[in-house]
């Protein structure tokens, strides 16, 4: 029996073979070693956090544990039994399940149908589905772990938080003994996150092992028993969270001391209004009203943040300003000139840079090389093109220059964009948008999914842009980030501006109330 594994305080079972043991896991990809001799152990009934920057190898490691990749070297053992996964199904059979950041649900189906979808042992195998039996079983699981969701609801009727609960139910239904949650709180409101933590604890108390992947240090502290830190593909430490501080964890993660906490937004003296939004109304993707009479302005050198829970019209507002969505009413002026609505090129010409929320697919063309993506907006003008001709040499050169200046980790400018990690991808977008010397910069959730160092970089660039006289409109759900960066804060609720505050005097409580529609 292994004595070195600490029994979790929540676990009722005695210390025994670790539920998960990864030894010396190495996985090489053409350009990088994603995992380099990683060791990881989690006990039964433990909540074990996996912490690391983007590109540190967390995703690769969980893909190995769920059978998506095979390690080049190293062994995996579950409850002391060596295993060799050839496909995700092997992993599922062995009781390993994963809740992905991007949900894998069939949108028109009901909750119950989604839950049995991957089931190949039991009711899911029968030709006719026993609706009632499935719903009953799903209902039992829900009440046992405090997961509130109606088994008969269809996925499209559910909020993001509820959809995540369906993913967890799916894993529980498959009798997952080891559950990997990949940045589960990224899409949740603080209240939803608290409910998730309750569920996680209930599952751990039931003897399941939870591997919790996150960047957010305070969450790791709040929910995990132990944490393993990955840095550049290596496991650098496993520590008890009780003994760790956010600062010590951050230092382990990036390998150096990091400045956390509130900084001065910068002593920029805001100048004239460069972006004026007046009475904008717009429709959402489903044709329902998404924006109603939204007005705001951003001055040169100023960072204005739009706070709000996701889905309250922020994305639509950013798209209207960037010209990607037509407004049904109102006007947008940049440097005094009214923009032609619904025309992204008008925005680009007027000097509006836009960092879209959806990087892969909107911000970059995924299968095209980095070099093409770097000139995505500037290919029309010299020196990138001459008349109708592209100048490939110039494109290559600019790509190399920006890769170097923005410290993008890419083996060459010819790599397809999708191969880059989230942080490096965002650097490409930032590099392109900043190099166009914008008047207005609209940044929609620019740090979502990034690690501490990546967030730091993005923040630094946003501050630098403002200091250089750019009017920055930052859309974020992260109040810490907003309070840290913005001069002024506009709160949106249900497509309207529910309040505006000076960042210097605003408190999180007050903003939270506005975000929830209170006065």
């Amino acid at each position: 029996m292994s004595g070195e594994v600490q029994a979790s305080p929540l676990s009722n079972t005695p210390a025994m073979q670790p539920a998960v043991a990864l030894r010396g896991i190495t996985k090489r990809f053409p350009a990088v070693v994603a995992n380099d001799g990683v060791n990881f152990e989690a006990a039964q009934g433990e909540v074990h956090a996996l912490l690391g920057e983007n590109g540190a190898g967390k995703t690769t490691l969980s893909n190995i544990l769920t059978g998506l990749y095979r390690p080049d070297e190293g062994d995996i053992a579950l409850f002391g039994e060596p295993v060799d996964f050839h496909s995700p199904r092997d992993a599922i059979d062995a009781g390993v399940a994963m809740v992905h950041q991007h949900f894998r649900l069939v949108v028109p189906f009901t909750v119950a149908e989604n839950v049995v979808l991957g089931d190949h042992r039991d009711v899911g195998r029968t030709f006719l589905l026993h609706q009632r039996a499935i719903e009953r079983r799903v209902g039992e699981l829900s009440s046992r772990y405090g997961i509130a969701v109606d088994p008969r609801a269809r996925i499209w009727q559910l909020s993001v938080g509820e959809q995540q609960r369906v993913e967890i139910l799916k894993a529980l239904y498959q009798d997952a003994r080891i559950l990997i949650l990949d940045e589960p709180t990224a899409v949740l409101t603080p209240q939803e996150a608290d409910a998730l933590f309750e569920t996680i604890r209930a599952m751990a108390a039931d003897g399941r092992t939870i591997i919790f992947i996150s960047h957010k240090l305070h969450e790791v502290k709040a929910v995990a028993d132990r944490v393993t830190v990955l840095q550049r593909g290596r496991s650098v430490a496993t520590v008890d969270t009780a003994e760790a501080t956010p600062r010590s964890l951050a230092a382990l993660m990036v390998g150096r001391e990091i400045e956390l906490g509130r900084q001065d937004a910068g002593g920029a003296k805001p100048g004239e209004s460069v972006l004026v939004v007046e009475g904008i109304g717009a429709q959402g993707d489903r044709g329902t009203p998404a924006l109603d009479d939204v007005s705001l302005s951003v001055k040169s050198g100023e960072i204005v943040a739009i706070a709000g829970v996701a889905g309250n019209g922020q994305r639509e507002l950013a798209e209207v300003i960037a010209g990607m969505r037509a407004a049904t009413s109102g006007t947008i002026r940049v440097s005094g000139n009214t923009l032609r609505g619904g025309d992204p090129r008008a925005g680009i010409r007027a000097g509006v840079s836009y960092i879209p929320e959806d990087r892969l697919g909107t911000g970059v063309a995924p299968r095209l090389p980095v070099s093409s993506n770097v000139v995505l907006k500037s290919y029309r003008r010299p020196p990138i093109s001459r008349g109708p001709m592209l100048r490939l040499g110039q494109i290559r050169e600019r790509a190399r220059r920006l890769i170097e200046r923005y410290d993008v980790r890419a083996s060459s400018e010819q790599v397809p964009a999708w191969q880059l990690s989230g942080g490096n991808l965002q650097k490409i977008v930032l590099a392109r948008e900043f190099s166009s010397e914008p008047v207005v910069l609209v940044a929609a959730s620019p740090t979502r999914g990034l690690d501490v160092a990546g967030i730091e970089t993005v923040h630094a660039y946003l501050r630098e842009a403002a200091a250089g006289g750019v009017g920055v409109l930052l859309i974020s759900e992260d109040l810490d980030e907003i309070l840290n960066l913005a001069h002024r804060i506009v709160v949106m609720f249900e497509g309207r501006v529910s309040g505006e505050r000076d960042a210097a005097t605003a408190t999180p409580e007050e903003l939270g109330l506005l975000m929830a529609g209170g006065e």
Partner: protein, 375 residues
């Protein structure tokens, strides 16, 4: 047990080796079919290659068969590159043949000089093809209609119109004089000035249309890799939303690419008129299925314009061999079987570009895993 895994990276040589091996496997399978039907495979293949490439004048015939296929292959590749599935190459080629024939007869009758007629035929053919392709293009761009359905349906419409012009009407294009024309309807024969020239090099006849088709392939390659237009096509083809974000006029581009695709197919129709048929020939055009073969060729060539030329020559050769060899001693369906097998193997071979096959040795792996070290 055999498992199929997705490749994380596709080595560059795979895109060369896989098609070559696919074709080899196809010939091997054809050999088995031949053997099973009592034909000596070696001898039959020799005859096939002789008829396609080696015999006296065979290569010239192959070039003639390949010319329209290059046009329709390029037409399909140009659209597919932007994820526009223009299945209407067939109808666009007919349309080009109709407009080019009209111009040839008009100008030929007016006694215009030959180069003027040739250029006018090309322009008219391209315009005719582009016009037909513009319909699904506009419907797709502005009403999100599936271009696959609309372009396919237009093939039948243009096909029926083509037949109507010669068989069911006394149109300008139909020859109504002479005994033969009374018995069997046919198109008016062009004046000699409307025949496209050809060159003979060491006995190999290269028609003008073939030379232009090869130049066109180079032009398409240049357009798609070296120009702003091509850059926009690449971006929109990969992610329409990224194109919109970059301020590209995605709707206009859809229409433009469909028109370009149609124009190339229509050019092919003009070449049919000017190079080979010298009259509007509804039956000949409709029996050949150039448009549909073009789709297959574009797919086999993985949308690469130069590969389109090579694949078109290979398939053109097989087609030509089929015409030559058909007879009592040679199975008429053999060439069809070979073509089918090449297609099957080439498309099947794609699997190996994207995936790799692993042989599972689960039992051995499990036993060789080191037991857990005791603490």
């Amino acid at each position: 047990m055999i498992r199929i895994e997705r490749r994380l990276r596709q080595p560059w040589w795979l895109s060369v080796v896989v098609p070559v091996v696919s074709v080899a496997v196809a010939f091997l399978l054809t050999g088995l079919v031949l053997f099973a039907t009592g034909h000596p495979p070696g001898h039959s293949f020799r005859r096939l290659f002789d008829a396609a490439f080696l015999a006296d004048g065979a290569l010239s015939e192959t070039v003639i068969s390949a010319t329209p296929l290059i046009f329709t292959g390029l037409a399909a590749a140009v659209a597919f590159r932007m994820n526009l599935f223009n299945i209407g190459g067939e109808g666009q080629l007919y349309a080009g043949a109709i407009t080019a024939a009209t111009i040839a007869l008009l100008l030929g009758g007016a006694g215009a000089p030959s180069p003027v007629i040739v250029v006018a035929m090309i322009v008219a053919g391209a315009a005719g093809g582009a016009f037909v392709a513009a319909i699904p293009g506009i419907l797709r761009a502005f009403f999100s209609t599936s271009e696959i359905i609309t372009s396919l349906m237009l093939n039948y419409i243009v096909g029926v119109f083509l037949t109507y012009l010669i068989f069911d009407s006394h149109s300008y294009l139909r020859d109504t004089n002479g005994f033969e024309a009374q018995v069997f309807p046919q198109g008016k024969v062009f004046s000699d000035d409307a025949s496209w020239s050809s060159w003979t090099i060491h006995g190999l006849v290269l028609p003008l249309g073939f030379v232009l088709a090869v130049l066109l392939a180079a032009g398409v390659w240049f357009l798609y890799t070296r120009t702003r237009f091509g850059f926009e096509v690449q971006v929109i083809g990969d992610s329409p939303r990224a194109g919109q974000y970059a301020g590209m006029r995605t709707r206009r581009k859809i229409v433009a690419v469909m028109c370009l695709s149609g124009a190339i197919a229509g050019f092919g129709g003009a070449s049919q008129d000017g190079d080979f048929r010298h009259q509007l020939d509804p039956q000949g055009l409709q029996q050949a299925n150039y448009g549909y073969s073009g789709i297959v060729i574009a797919a086999l060539a993985r949308y690469n314009p130069f590969a389109v030329v090579l694949v078109a020559i290979l398939l053109g050769g097989l087609q030509n061999a089929g015409f030559t060899l058909q007879g009592a001693d040679f199975p008429a369906g053999l060439v069809g079987v070979t073509q089918g097998l090449i297609l099957f193997c080439a498309l099947g071979g794609e699997l190996f570009v994207r995936y790799r096959v692993r042989f599972n040795r689960r039992a051995r792996v499990t036993t060789t895993v080191a037991p857990e070290p005791a603490p």
